[in-house]
């Protein structure tokens, strides 16, 4: 089936409340698996599977000079590597615009929610702070990489520990028992728009047929801490109202998975 036929087929099914893999429009794939501490040399790590979409997150920490505009705060760097191993469509090379957008969406959810108390990462104001390098790698892309990456990121952060610091140098490979100063759990849910319909947790075929997507990151009290409209088409205010109740539901579901897996 070519892409246009597939789109028509998907929209026809959606009219009747069905999806190509048999799910409801607001149904996440099952199972969703979150494993933590999957890579022993990382300060924190996780492996997340949503259906057959799979990503890995890992955290390495270092110390360095703070940014001039935040001398009393640590540094967070988020990167996404779309490994060519995970999809026939990904190519080797530096991060493309899709990888960069995804990394920035994940970063924004963590940063704006104030998930990490960045002031507690300060060692000496203006001189030395902790730097968190959070790297996300795709293992299999079967759609909805944004939510999988965001989920992997918070799971890895939640379980990460500080490495040993001696005379302002990190002793690589030696860890303390002190966890990162985590205050909140921001969870991202992406809705994909196909024709007039919104669905959660789109798979690859649905993503290819889509017009737009909206990623919303909520903290525990359901306040929005980050949002991104992606894709080529626009959405309407009424659409936002429609998706918000779904996002509240789904982020709650995902958050409980994270709190169970990443204690």
């Amino acid at each position: 089936m070519n892409n246009l036929d597939m789109r028509e087929y998907i929209i026809n099914l959606l009219e009747h409340g069905h999806r190509i893999d048999g799910r409801k429009l607001d149904e996440l794939r099952k199972p969703i698996e979150i494993k933590v501490n999957v890579s022993k040399n990382a300060e924190g790590s996780s492996n997340v599977k949503i259906g057959s979409t799979e990503v890995m997150a890992g955290i390495k920490m270092a110390v360095g000079e703070p940014f001039a505009d935040s001398p009393d705060q640590g540094v967070l760097m988020v990167g996404v590597e779309l490994l060519p191993l995970s999809s026939p469509e990904f190519e080797s090379g530096p991060p493309d615009e899709w990888a960069t957008e995804m990394a920035r969406v994940v970063d924004r959810g963590i940063r704006e929610s104030k998930m990490i108390d960045m002031k507690k990462l300060c060692i000496r104001e203006g001189e030395l702070v902790w730097m968190i390098f959070l790297d996300l790698y795709t293992i299999n892309d079967d759609g909805n990489l944004i939510d999988a990456c965001a989920l992997a990121a918070i799971s890895a952060l939640k379980t990460a520990v500080f490495p040993v610091l001696e005379k302002d140098k990190v002793k690589f490979g030696e860890f303390t028992k002190n966890k990162l100063p985590i205050t909140k759990i921001p969870v991202t849910c992406t809705l994909t728009k196909i024709g007039p319909h919104f669905i959660v947790d789109a798979n690859t075929k649905e993503e290819k047929a889509s017009d737009a997507r909206i990623s919303i990151c909520l903290i525990e009290n359901n306040n929005i801490c980050a949002m991104q409209k992606g894709g080529g088409s626009g959405i309407e205010i009424d659409d936002l109202k429609k998706v918000f109740s779904i996002v509240k539901d789904k982020t709650k579901e995902l958050r409980s998975l994270v709190t169970t897996a990443a204690k």
Binding site: S39, N41, K60, P88, I139
Partner: protein
């Protein structure tokens, strides 16, 4: 007693013993073939895509398909963060990996195409190129690429003056350690990867390569088992 302590291996293995191994085939759904191989704490994932059309066209070979290989490590797979993206080390390992696998595959029927092999190390404790080759070889078989044999790889070396199989990081980092990564096709014992760094005599080298051969034969059995396992699952579905 002190003497005995010194020659003991950090994880208590015998000199001719490999670490505990685990292999799984078909782990990446979108790939044409894929596999995971774990050697102790070293974990490699490999995926194969192709044969697929090769661009740009001038790189195509009208006689047969070409093999391409890309090896990399996750930034957090090692104790000191590795910057994501290509490195000189990665480029060299990609090349020797391609050369290690090339003799096993036959791409004569796939003119103008490419078979891509991607290897990523998720956790490293020495022997990552060997684990990568072992995983990639299973992924190639899983993708249905015509092969004359599987390729199995292991590192051997001289640690504290004694020849040992399958070194861990702690042994590799000791002063005076010689490290010899080897890849072997078990059916005819053809060696397709051989690298060495250190200081070793001719007799010791031969002893080491013989030991690698034994190790590869064990890995070979595990590879075959993992491949059969995948099709057992399909049969039972």
């Amino acid at each position: 007693m002190a003497q005995a302590k010194k020659t003991e291996r950090p994880d208590g293995r015998k000199l001719n013993e490999t670490r505990e191994m685990e292999a799984k085939v078909g782990i990446i759904k979108r790939a044409d073939g894929s596999a995971m191989f774990r050697m102790g704490k070293t974990i490699a994932y490999a995926a194969v895509y192709g044969p697929r059309e090769l661009f740009p066209g001038f790189m195509q070979n009208p006689e047969k398909g070409i093999l391409r290989c890309n090896y990399d490590m996750m930034s957090f797979s090692v104790t000191e963060r590795k910057r994501p993206g290509p490195s000189r080390r990665g480029v060299e390992i990609s090349l020797v990996t391609k050369n290690a696998l090339g003799p096993a595959v036959n791409l004569d029927q796939f003119a103008n195409t490419v078979v891509d092999i991607f290897i990523i190390i998720t956790q490293a404790d020495a022997g990552t190129r060997c684990a990568g080759i072992t995983a990639a070889s299973m992924a190639l078989a899983d993708a249905g690429i015509p092969m004359k044999d599987l390729v199995s790889a292991v590192s051997v070396g001289k640690v504290n003056g004694r020849i040992a199989l399958d070194l861990v990081k702690e042994e590799e980092d000791l002063d005076g350690t010689t490290d010899i990564p080897c890849a072997i096709m078990s059916r005819n014992n053809e060696i397709t990867l051989l690298q060495l760094d250190g200081d070793i005599s001719e007799a010791e080298l031969i002893e080491a390569v013989e030991l690698a051969k034994e190790g590869c034969h064990k890995i070979y059995e595990i590879q075959k088992e993992a491949l059969k396992e995948k099709y057992k699952e399909i049969k039972n579905e």
